[in-house]
């Protein structure tokens, strides 16, 4: 190709010419088949380059996630376990949980029934009043026998009884 506009074709394709020069080159392209063919070649190559660049960018974005997916974390590892073994493990865990709950909420040392049972182990043991709250009348119960008697009214405020005691 000996056309003097050959070098300007690339500038035209790249858009690096002024408006007047662009009109001159485009006027030439209308009459020069070689320059037209060259322009098309430049355009083809430019498209190829852009396509290649886009593919390379997409590859660069995907690559980190793929790496994460492929990373073998401990909790993502799969452990091969037979179904029967897994069932046995679950049953054992359930039994342990039930035993733990029963030992916590079952009979304790402070249960009054067990307290009375301990007393009956020695039948000769005398009456032992249980723990009483301040509000309960049980705090007066020391195992004595009920009594009834009469006193004169003027002695009812705590003096020694002066009437008959029945």
């Amino acid at each position: 190709m000996n056309c003097q506009y050959t070098e300007k074709i690339s500038l035209l394709v790249d858009g690096e010419m002024s408006a007047e020069e662009t009109r001159n080159v485009e006027a030439h392209l209308a009459n020069c088949a070689d320059c037209e063919r060259l322009k098309n070649d430049f355009l083809f190559f430019r498209r190829q380059i852009k396509e290649s660049a886009r593919q390379m960018t997409a590859t660069a974005n995907i690559l980190p996630n793929q790496k994460l997916k492929n990373k073998n974390y401990l909790w993502r590892r799969q452990v091969p376990l037979p179904v029967s073994a897994f069932a046995l493990i679950m049953i054992a865990l359930a039994a342990f949980g039930a035993w733990s709950a029963f030992s916590r909420f079952g009979r304790s040392e402070n249960n009054p029934v067990s307290e009375i049972t301990k007393q009956s182990a020695s039948p000769e043991k005398k009456f032992a009043p249980p723990e009483q709250s301040e509000l309960s009348l049980a705090r007066f119960d020391k195992g004595g026998r009920a009594e009834i008697y009469t006193i004169r009214r003027q002695s009812a405020d705590g003096n020694e009884p002066g009437g008959n005691e029945k």
Binding site: S136, L137, A138, G144, A146, I148, T150, R152
Partner: protein, 309 residues
Amino acid sequence: MKIRFFLALVLFLLSVLAAGDSKSFSVSARSGERRVQFQVMTIEENAGGRKVLAETIVEGLPGTDFNINLQTERFKMQARFLTDLIASDALKVRANLNTRRLFGYSPANLPLYEEDAQKHALEINFDETIVLLPFGRGAAETLKIEITPTLLSASMSETPLKINIGKQLSSGEIFVEAAKIPHRFETEVVLLADGHEVARAVADSLLEEAGEIVLQPDAKAEKEITEKPLTVKLSVDKYTRSRPADSVAISFNVFRAQNNQIETIIPKAAGAAPLGGELRYVLEENYFSGGKKYELKFKVRLAKGERAD
């Protein structure tokens, strides 16, 4: 005509006045009745003094009965008080105390209880107080229940039985209940020989108090009945309000005595009947000669002056 009309008018007016004023007559007739009040105080007593824990006042006509119930986790007391006004300034109080205390458990894990039953008959004046110690005495702090009777004059209106709770025990372990039922009865006992009356006696009975009734033979009685009259020891045990009629329950035994020797005819028997109704018991033939069929007939009625309500 005019005089007859005038007399008829006067009679009519007198009858109207008498009918209208009957209520006031009946009220005034009962105004002589008295009312009895019992102040039941639960007291804690120790070296520091006395503290009133609870107070209840029971008020009603003479013959008002009350119960004091105490229940803790391991102890239960039921105290029944039957009261009767025996004089203008004296009360007869019959107290039945029943206590039950959990002692422990047997080797078979069955509960063991310590029980006590006491009966007391007290005659007190209105300046005396009954003291009940549910747990006995001797401890540093003692629980006392003091029952103070007071005789009140009756108001014109017929006030029913009242229970006023002045101070309630916060734990609710003591509560008082009261009732008014008849206490005095008239008991009639008749001995029948082949359906014919040969001996009879009528006696007053007090509720839950046994009394002996000696049957007096009449002219038709056999010699063995005349020489060895029957004696009935009878107690009216229970009075139950019921409809159509209230009922009574009795228990009795029958014996005859001669020369300090007692021969038991019926050792123990009991029965129930409507008030005023009959109870019949056939006596064993081997106690009597002559081949006659002997029966005892009982009838219990309210005593004179006693009211069912």
